[in-house]
Symmetry: C2
Subunit: 405 residues, 2 copies
Amino acid sequence: MSNNLPQNLKGFRDFLGPEAEIRDFVKAKLAETFRVYGFQPLETPTLEYAELLLGKYGTEADKLLYKFNDRGEREVALRYDQTVPTARVISHYQNELPRFYRRYQLQNVFRADKPQKGRYREFMQCDIDIFNTKSHLADAEILACFYDALSGLGFNDLEIMVNDRTALVESLTPFATEQVDVFSIIQSVDKLDKQTVSEVAAELEAKGLVPERATAALAALDALQPTANLEKIIDAAQKLGVPVAALKFNPALARGLDYYTGMIFEIRSQSYKNGSLAGGGRYDNLISQLGGPDIPAVGGSIGFDRAVDACKDLGLLSASEKPETYLACIYDEETTPAVLELAAKLRAEGKRVEVYPEPAKLGKQLSYADKNGFTHALIIGPEELGKREYVVKDLVAASEERRAL
Amino acid sequence: MSNNLPQNLKGFRDFLGPEAEIRDFVKAKLAETFRVYGFQPLETPTLEYAELLLGKYGTEADKLLYKFNDRGEREVALRYDQTVPTARVISHYQNELPRFYRRYQLQNVFRADKPQKGRYREFMQCDIDIFNTKSHLADAEILACFYDALSGLGFNDLEIMVNDRTALVESLTPFATEQVDVFSIIQSVDKLDKQTVSEVAAELEAKGLVPERATAALAALDALQPTANLEKIIDAAQKLGVPVAALKFNPALARGLDYYTGMIFEIRSQSYKNGSLAGGGRYDNLISQLGGPDIPAVGGSIGFDRAVDACKDLGLLSASEKPETYLACIYDEETTPAVLELAAKLRAEGKRVEVYPEPAKLGKQLSYADKNGFTHALIIGPEELGKREYVVKDLVAASEERRAL
């Protein structure tokens, strides 16, 4: 057979049957929980005017935009994230959207980044956000919703770390210098989950803080207590169903992005070691900075590829990965009508049935079933037809039984 | 609030909550049936090397490709259809795919076409296909699967018209002339579902057939009988569950595209007048023409936007359009914990609950519920809390009842 078609572009992926099905399953489960929390789906176009996206994410990001002139010489760009298009939607549909708009969005975004392990040029983002309220209840809803959504996938050792970004900045500002600003200190402090206190102190010194200042900064961090607002968020999240033990105040949690203005969080599974599954926080100034209306917001993202990886890694999807699949074998012309009727009957019960398309030796059909991971084969030969019964071969247990047609 | 963000590009759409939810529902229902028929999901990248897509759909189509040079100066293009990427997948993953690969694909495609009513530049395609067999059973599986998928959405007056494209070409070839080739005759004949016989005859004459020839061509068409293979397909489709009355041989059915090589079909709902919901047929030479391996294939597409429109038009989605939605009202700080716990309890039962994020007058919260289409409001005031009960207001029936917390 020919094979002269070009390969995929680097950083882009095909998802064949089993992998595509796992991804669809994860997506559907997450969306189900989001809807239960009152979030509405939102879909925006893959292409937007480049003007909408340019300058919104910083100079470095602008270089990663897939940008081109379309046939009408409009400068257009591929979706880069879901927040800027949402800011546009909020801005343009103000009269149609609820005052406290809460939306989820699960779409692919595009970044002309250097592809590497776990980093793709097209990948799915999974965001939930609540707009237009500063209430701690909205923060708590985000935490509870993500906790529930991930629990629904089977994660049973989730840990939500929370902090207050503003309190963090305030507590570290006294230790900043002209050379080492507070965000640089925060960047180092953020590594405390992977590095020891002395390693982080050393990094701060290398950046230019005198040792006493570095030590004092880390001590100040250590003395931090949850703000009153963070206490209220934690308390409400617990009432909404997050177990007390799963919620942890972590004064060193910083999150990379500068735009957070209050509560920040990260969610991990303790048995999955390749990073957090979700993160986010409050960003009361971002929507207006992006050109949208001046409204507060709180939300977060699940790392979709990582969540799928973690599910597979921890064996959480066994049922959905391997639903029962039936190959209906074709014996001869006489028995085929009965096989087709049986296929129709089982399909009506929701079972997955593929009809082998051609008459062939039974051994060949069974080896096809085996090779392609079918769990069962259905057989009706002349003898079975005479007795109005069929054989179900369980290909996993290597057993068989006869049932009435 | 500000409103200075650019609008959508023409021909591109935002799907807000209710509309996005209907689309997700239709998509999920269709995919569910496809899986029951043994079809596997496939996802291919939004971007491909332009070389893969160019020249595959004809010169006119090449002009509609969204094509550009990426940052690495590779010539790339946005997905134009799902068949060419599938040909690439079949070509590159031959050892991983089942011999009789059957896949469904529901992704957006992009065409730099002139936008007009019902024609968009980004829209979803919904394809199922079975590869590598010429068996009539595969043709029948496609018909039965689409019938089931559309029935599953609620259409109860479906009509499948079938014909044999090869027999049609053969029967009309004797009437072709140098001036009017057989495909031009077929093009006119295809209009017989909307025009009278004499109108079509007049069109054939206008094209250059002498009146006797035009009349004879239409008479030949009228005399056509289903081929033996088409009889077998119809018979098998009935065994697979398609009602006899829903399957109709239509010798004038032609389908626009030239690549069909055998059975062709179209599916309509008799009560929906804006066109067919699905169509397709056998195309044994196309995959190799597209640069893939030389394998036969049969399949079809559901017109996704049209199917969604028809569902709405015929009121088929009322349940999914309007699931019960609860607004949990916030009365004061004392009662809030009980409200949050109630929200968690109802969510655990799968109910959709939004917690109103801020304390506000009850009237304001109820008018928020009303304005945003909530079906129920949940209220716990101090009195209810004392009695360990809550009020559920049914906002549709304008009634209320008290239940134990």
